[in-house]
């Protein structure tokens, strides 16, 4: 439970300030929570993305909850909400900004880290690293490998140089580090958690017995 009073005090130092560094994004403070974004979200029909909720959490500075949640990563950046927002809030840009902030805090999701690592190693987010993909291409009368870095292995070096220049590799390494640290903390807490769960189970059993 977040004490709203303390929360409000914290807002100044929270991601709100980081988000609004950009003048365009300043407009997100005028959001009146109408839900047009969520209501018309094509992704939200299928997935759990709740755009308004993301904006709200960012507005009231619920940094930790928001940046580590899955919500941020479910947006397909189709810009429907951006176009319809009656308050001119650049919703999609804010989500992208929040993803950047999360990444810099090492809170990138596992699958994204995996894809990024693939990109660094092979120059492809989804490389043709299995025979079945080449076979599939062959069955479609395509060359086994596409005319990308797969056909020109020397180009991988160039891709890696660009990635190094942009310090993308450092970002991914940091993400891995944070992920590991969080997993260890989780592990440390495991015995406590087991105790908690056991106590809960015991209580449930007692209640069921009654």
């Amino acid at each position: 439970m977040v004490l709203i009073k303390e929360q409000i005090k914290k807002i100044d130092k929270s991601i709100v300030e980081e988000v609004v560094e950009d003048e365009l994004l300043e407009r997100f403070k005028s959001c009146y929570q109408c839900g047009t974004c969520t209501g018309g979200c094509p992704s939200g029909r299928r997935a759990a993305i709740r755009t308004r909720d993301v904006i709200r959490q960012a507005l009231v500075g619920l940094d930790d909850d928001l940046l580590s949640s899955d919500l941020l990563w479910l947006c397909s950046t189709c810009y429907t909400c951006y176009e319809r927002c009656p308050r001119d809030v650049p919703t999609t840009d804010i989500i992208i900004k929040l993803r950047n902030i999360a990444s810099h805090r090492g809170l990138m999701k596992g699958p994204h880290l995996a894809v990024s690592k693939m990109l660094i190693e092979t120059g492809h987010g989804v490389p043709i690293n299995d025979e079945k993909w080449s076979n599939l291409r062959k069955s479609l009368k395509l060359t086994p490998l596409p005319p990308t870095v797969h056909s020109f292995p020397e180009a991988v070096k160039e891709v890696q140089t660009i990635i190094k220049e942009l310090k993308f590799d450092e970002l991914i390494a940091y993400g891995e580090e944070v992920k590991k640290k969080l997993a260890e903390e989780e592990k440390k807490r495991a015995p406590e958690r087991i105790e908690e769960l056991e106590a809960e189970l015991k209580q449930l059993k007692e209640e069921a017995g009654k």
């Binding site: 929570q33 018309g40 979200c41 709740r50």
Partner: protein
């Protein structure tokens, strides 16, 4: 009276304005600083200079003969110039020997986070005011006659009330209305919130009363085309559009309309019912006379054969009427927002999406469905209706309005309740973001709508709608923001609670009358709190939605206020005009006539025979255009003389 030749002895009075000024500036320092300025003999500070005690401070110093010039460093002259001028005059000093230094709006309010800089700016402002005060000259206030006649533009509920109030007081009122009937939007409404009294029952008797009033002259189907003159003496040209029906001869029998073969949409019914090319907007129209809509008439002349009093005249021409008025009251009302361009709501594409005003006509006992609303696609009574709030309002999207239209929440709830009364089994949804029920009895109305009528309030704006191709139902997508869940809702009909906008020709009126508009297109009042029905043009008032969105009670209250403002001007018979007019020195004038062309108020005229340029003091608004343009320096403007302005500039840049 103090002689202007006397050496200036200036008193400077610094106002704290509570914390508004003293919270930012060090007023003791400022008082000491002012005392060091040339010609300053007295420097005081007080908490509220505008209070009685504050004014007394100034008056005592004048009466003791200590000072003969007054500088008050306080708020904007727009706020209190008149207050201090009056105090100066009452103490026996010419009121134009007073100068106000604005250290609030121009300093403490805008620089509250830079206190040091604000202090030095305050010194500059005071120093400049003192420099001007040293050069001030006494002036005499001018008086002009105010004719006891009023022009009311727009005959909705606001215009009708203004006309009635002024007519009852014996003033000669001309009520101009651009459509063929008076009554405005209120005549279109069925019932009015929150008391649910019948709109027609309230307004029709008023329409008839105005129509028969001996002091009120209605000019329907007419527009104001030219305005000259000034407060008390406006010269106005009104163009009456051709009715093509002799309005004296027409008996209103309707025989013409019966035979007319042309059918088009009736504007009064928001296009939901047809009318003929020769028509009466609605049965209770005032005046109850027919008009031919020449945009649709095919000139078959069947009506001409049918008309017993032989009133039809296809050669009718526009008529120009010229008249002088003492005051003008603008009550031009609004136009409803047109949602056609907002594609996500499908208005115009899906028959079962209608606007609030169309619903109002459907609910009306003399509307297209005689008070039994149906869905346009199949003429059946809808089982479920969803109202979308804030359509065209509170939105930054292009073509939409930023402001709240103030009536939509209430009219949606009113229509919802009315439909529930007729169909208790109906399902009604109102998709809202905030319910704004701020008027007397409105919150109670809202609560009863939810509790007794079982209307479903969903907090969330409709994102988009689709049509179910099988039954023309409307499928709505939105978020229930309180449940944090996207929802999909299928309803029989959707009503768009469209907002209110400034009239399309508000800009024309604004230019004709020289009355400013705010960014949203509505007419600007002189002061939002203290002069809400005055405009910055003397003698011109504004009331009702023309000034900004408002409901009927507020509109009528403003109309009564505007009538009272206009009446007090006309009852006095004369009005004081600030003597800021320009003065021409004909000895210096080379008759180049630059000023004649440039004057925005046509106040300067040239007599060719005498080779003399003259400035009409009453028409001149003291804008200074001619003064700046005159190549011979022959024109000076009272109270803003070159010597006075230069004194300010010289002291503002002392190192020059």
């Amino acid at each position: 009276m103090v002689n202007s030749d006397e050496e200036p002895r200036i008193g400077v009075y610094i106002c704290d304005c509570g914390v508004n000024i003293a919270g930012v500036l060090d007023n003791d320092e400022l008082r000491e600083y002012a005392a060091t300025l040339p010609n300053v003999v007295k420097s005081e500070r007080y908490k509220f200079m505008c209070s009685e005690i504050g004014q007394k401070l100034i008056q005592e110093d004048i009466e003791n003969g200590e000072i003969n010039r007054v500088v008050v460093a306080a708020c904007s002259p727009r706020m209190h110039e008149n207050t201090f001028r009056k105090a100066t005059r009452e103490a026996g000093l010419n009121e134009f020997l007073f100068e106000q230094a604005n250290i609030r709006e121009h300093d403490s309010w805008v620089h509250m986070r830079q206190q040091d800089d604000a202090q030095s700016i305050a010194q500059d402002i005071v120093r400049m005011a003192v420099a001007k005060a040293s050069k001030l000259e006494p002036l005499e206030v001018m008086k002009v006659e105010v004719k006891p006649s009023a022009l009311v533009i727009g005959a909705g509920i606001a215009g009708i009330n203004v006309a009635k109030d002024l007519g009852d007081q014996g003033f000669d009122v001309t009520l101009v209305e651009k459509t063929p009937t008076i009554g405005g939007h209120m005549a279109q409404l069925d019932k009015t919130f929150p008391t649910m009294d019948c709109s027609a029952c309230i307004i029709t008797p008023e329409m008839v009363e105005v129509g028969n009033h001996p002091n009120i002259n209605i000019l329907n189907y007419a527009e104001v085309t030219k305005v000259d003159g000034f407060v008390g003496n406006f010269k106005v040209e009104i163009t009456k559009k051709p009715h093509y029906v002799d309005q004296e001869a027409c008996t209103g029998c309707g025989g013409c309309s019966d035979v007319c073969p042309v059918i088009t949409g009736n504007e009064f019914d928001e296009g939901m019912k047809e009318r003929k090319a020769i028509y009466l907007p609605f049965p209770q129209a005032v005046p109850n006379k027919f008009t031919i809509d020449m945009d649709h008439c095919i000139k078959c002349e069947l009506c001409k054969d049918e008309c017993e009093p032989d009133a039809i005249n296809f050669d009718d021409k526009p008529k120009k009427i010229e008249k002088e008025f003492g005051t003008i009251i603008v009550t031009t009302g609004y136009k409803a927002f047109d949602p056609s361009d907002y594609t996500p709501y499908g208005f115009g594409r899906f028959p079962n999406v209608i606007t609030g005003l169309q619903m109002e006509r459907e609910l009306s006992s003399f509307g297209p469905t005689v008070g039994k609303p149906v869905r346009p696609s199949d003429g059946k009574a809808p089982h479920s209706i969803a109202f979308f709030q804030c359509v065209g309002s509170r939105s930054f999207q292009p073509g939409m309005n930023n402001y709240c239209s103030r009536v939509c929440c209430m009219y949606a709830m009113k229509q919802a309740r009315q439909y529930k009364e007729k169909h208790p089994e109906a399902e009604i949804y109102i998709l809202y973001m905030d319910i704004r029920a701020f008027g007397k009895g409105y919150e109670e109305f809202y609560e009863i709508a939810a509790r007794e009528y079982g209307i479903n309030f969903i907090r969330g704006r409709a994102a988009e709608v689709f049509e179910n191709p099988e039954n023309n139902n409307i499928i709505i997508r939105a978020e229930d923001t309180l449940l944090k869940r996207p929802i999909e809702l299928e309803v029989d009909m959707v009503v768009l609670s469209v907002g209110l906008e400034a009239q399309e020709d508000a800009t024309v009126i604004s230019r004709l009358l020289n009355v400013s508009q705010t960014a949203d297109g509505f007419f600007m009042e002189a002061h939002p709190k203290l002069r809400p029905i005055d405009t910055l043009s003397d003698g011109i008032f504004v009331a009702g939605v023309a000034q900004g969105p408002k409901d009927i009670p507020d509109t009528v209250a403003q109309a009564k206020g505007a009538a009272s403002g206009a009446a007090s001007l006309m009852a006095q018979g004369e009005v004081e005009i600030e003597p800021y007019f320009s003065v021409i020195n004909n000895a210096l004038c080379s008759s180049c006539l630059s000023c004649v062309d440039l004057c925005p108020y046509t106040a300067i005229s040239y007599d060719k025979l005498a080779n003399l340029v003259t400035i009409n003091k009453a028409l001149c608004k003291g804008c200074g255009t001619c003064t700046a343009a005159c190549p011979c320096n022959a024109i000076t403007q009272n109270h803003f003389k070159v010597s006075q302005i230069m004194a300010m500039i010289d002291t503002a840049i002392p190192t020059r």
